[in-house]
Symmetry: C2
Subunit: 467 residues, 2 copies
């Protein structure tokens, strides 16, 4: 794959402008600033040029030109990524998909929708909800992220435990390849056994194989009711043991989130949460059940309660009203913001088989003890997906800048030794790629490179990411 | 990709025997007969040699040798395939996976199991059911097919409508590549955002990219109760309209099967089914609801009934007892056997967005009228997946052997024009591959070939299949 990238010369710039219109090509530093970072800590990489196409044909024309001229291209959604996937590390052209913001159709007969990649996830969820339908893939950033970015990262969110990731909802993708060719990857069908599944290959490929310009997703009926409870435990082991046991009791909650004590402490300290945090409490589970029948939901809550008691649950806060539910959800939603706004931090996205969560957390604390960092852990316990926020705290700048990498490496080594992998939903992007060799062998890298080379022989698409 | 395949010489045969043991290498015509066909109509291709390895290391050693010597290799599960995927069309070596028949573990804490590919699907389902767990991917051949074959074909079955295909249950695969390298494709986790998803790429690749030697699957809690009903309609349009409306009413049935009148006629005629088939009835839906609460199941049945009435449903047979349920299921399960045992036939596996089913069936009958063939249609209406059994009937041998292909082509052209694709769950294999160009372009073929070439540069794995 060619690393002999060229810069964008005035002639190419003129051609970009003639393709998308002068108003939609940015070259001034002030205009480029927004595209020089995403939400991954404090990394900054300016592109040379940003183009904002509106049609598949424009994307195809841009890519054809860039491919012929060896211009690196970084596709960009809303820039809410947490792994640096949208950073133009080789300069070149950023293709910003923000004008692909139309919901093309919601097909109520087939329970499908076709949507452009620049639609904000929550806008799409609300549009289908108006028709009584559910699109359940709601990452924490649903109010600002694009559904195209969700496809690129194989996104999840709190409801994966019942509803699955975006991988289980995308039926078909329109994709522009590096050379400007346009394909639909599959068919608008719920089943597909017709050759290698290019749809599934594109999901999670982080903009390195093509640029998605339309997305066909499956929808499901909207459940009518939810119940929400917050359970507290004396140890992580007890909390995580309860997680497995809830499933074994035959209940599939719609959310099963873990929060460690330290997370709640941050929300109390920095957001003034009024919460009676008992000394003996170490771990919390936030559990939601949804459905169409209030009696069954109550029955499920009782079943869950019985399980929680078996695991010596100390207290269950049950949200009766919408306001009470919102208050409990707010604790979980505030936690990342509270941690990130009040510290120098790095966020890692680990995932293990769910019963291994206590070992993972214990190991992370032990590693932190040796390296001198604190961590705040929370995440999607039902999926074994733990977000680890590493806090600089009292760590010296020198240690933070040099030794921390070794500590993170140890966290990922532990994750892999527990049967897990580096990322459950944030992707590898730029910041995790140095750790990929902890889990993957030269054979994996050779297969990935072969796939990359098939789709993008000149290596122009989002270079420097994943591997 | 090399088409300069070699035949297996005495020296190689000796090496095969030293790898897997003399008793597990077959070369006599009588022994090879079983491996010369699958359940795809009447095709016969004898391999030169069959080897039956028992370990991943043995598979790796066999593949390494075959790769170095350009011996075509056809992996084989239970031989229940309906698209000719297991037929050794270039002779060479068949690697029969029947000795990979162990359930390695059922992990009740993580609701996962690790299973070898030669385990019969129903044997595995029963083993997890004993622990109160459900593995819901139950193709019609579940009593004889292997779970490894299910992975290779991306299999489905009647419960996909609620539970999804095998694609949503496989977490990780151990795979031997063409050159003998062994990898795990991913991690034993419910989420995965760590590079191109090789697990999903392997699923449905029909043995052309590697040989699976271990499978990690997700399990879910076993629902306690089911209800089953058979609804009859005057037209296909009304039956299929009801399918969409059931979902819109907020109910997700665990099965939603369509059967056309002609299918029931065959079961009455050839299996002595006692059924009062009214003259005005054209289409049937077999609807199952499952869950843990009898009241909710009853409520769901009532909701479904209300929908059915809106679509002028003429009659609903409700199964009260286990025997009655079995009797209704038997109609659906007998249908394929009844058709296939009593006629010269070809089965095609079409899939469209579900609301397009009436147009598909209508078009198939019209095409049959022009070409002189009858057809019996049934399938997974909730998924838009229709199995089309084309019956020779009064068609002349000449027309059957020459003109029929054009008729089948027209069926697939119609399927594609309705937004569908060639196969929902049977795969492309040998018998559908000539039709792939109806839907896919040179760009798709180039991507598929590039992927194939990355995994299997000498083209030894299951040559002549898919494309």
């Amino acid at each position: 794959m060619g690393m002999d990238y060229q810069s964008i010369n005035p002639d190419l710039l003129r051609q970009f402008k003639s393709i998308v219109g002068e108003a939609y090509v940015l070259t001034e530093a002030d205009d480029l600033e927004k595209y020089s970072h995403d939400e991954t800590e404090d990394l900054v990489y300016y592109p040379q040029v940003v183009a904002k196409p509106q049609t598949t044909e424009q994307v195809a024309a841009l890519l054809k030109l860039c491919n012929e001229n060896h211009i690196p291209v970084t596709p960009r959604g809303a820039g809410t990524g947490l792994s640096g996937g949208a950073l133009p590390v080789n300069q070149g052209l950023v293709i910003a998909m923000e004008r692909f913001n139309k919901i093309i159709n919601i097909d109520e007969d087939n329970l499908q929708a076709t949507v452009e990649p620049g639609v904000i996830t929550e806008v799409f969820m609300d549009a289908v909800a108006e028709k009584g339908l559910l699109y359940p893939v709601d990452p924490a950033s649903k109010g600002s992220c694009f559904i195209g970015g969700n496809v690129s990262h194989g996104s999840g969110g709190p409801r994966v435990v019942k509803y699955g990731t975006i991988r289980e909802y995308v039926l078909n993708l329109q994709v522009v390849l590096a050379n400007g060719d346009v394909i639909w990857t599959g068919a608008n069908t719920l089943k597909y056994a017709s050759g290698y599944n290019l749809t599934q290959l594109m999901i999670g490929s982080e903009g390195t194989l093509g640029i998605v310009t339309a997305i066909v997703v499956k929808l499901i009926p909207q459940p009518k009711y939810t119940a929400l409870m917050l359970a507290s435990f004396e140890t992580n082991e007890l909390a995580c043991g309860a997680v497995s046991a809830i499933f074994k009791a035959g209940v599939i909650p719609s959310t099963l989130e873990f929060m460690e004590r330290k997370g709640i402490e941050w929300v109390i300290k920095f957001d003034g949460l009024a919460f009676d945090l008992k000394d003996n409490i170490q771990a919390f589970l936030l559990i939601e059940v949804d459905g169409n029948n209030q009696d069954v939901i109550l029955e499920n809550c009782e079943q869950i309660n019985t399980v929680l008691e078996t695991f010596e649950c100390k207290d269950v806060l049950f949200a009766d009203t919408t306001d009470q539910k919102e208050a409990l959800w707010k604790i979980r939603r505030t936690m990342p913001v509270s941690v990130k706004s009040n510290s120098v931090y790095k966020e890692e996205d680990t995932v293990v088989p769910r019963a291994a969560l206590p070992q993972l957390i214990k190991g992370i604390k032990e590693i932190g003890g040796r390296y001198g960092f604190e961590s705040v852990c929370y995440g999607h316990a039902g999926d074994g997906n733990l977000h680890v926020n590493i806090i600089k705290g009292d760590m010296s700048d020198a240690d933070w800048n040099t030794k921390l990498k070794d500590g993170i490496r140890e966290i990922f080594e532990l994750t892999v030794s527990l049967g897990g992998t580096l990322s459950g939903e944030h992707g590898i992007g730029l910041v995790q790629k140095d750790y990929m060799q902890i889990k993957y062998t030269d054979v994996h890298f050779a297969l990935w490179r072969g796939i990359k080379n098939t789709f993008d022989p000149n290596g122009i698409l989002n270079p420097g990411k994943i591997f």
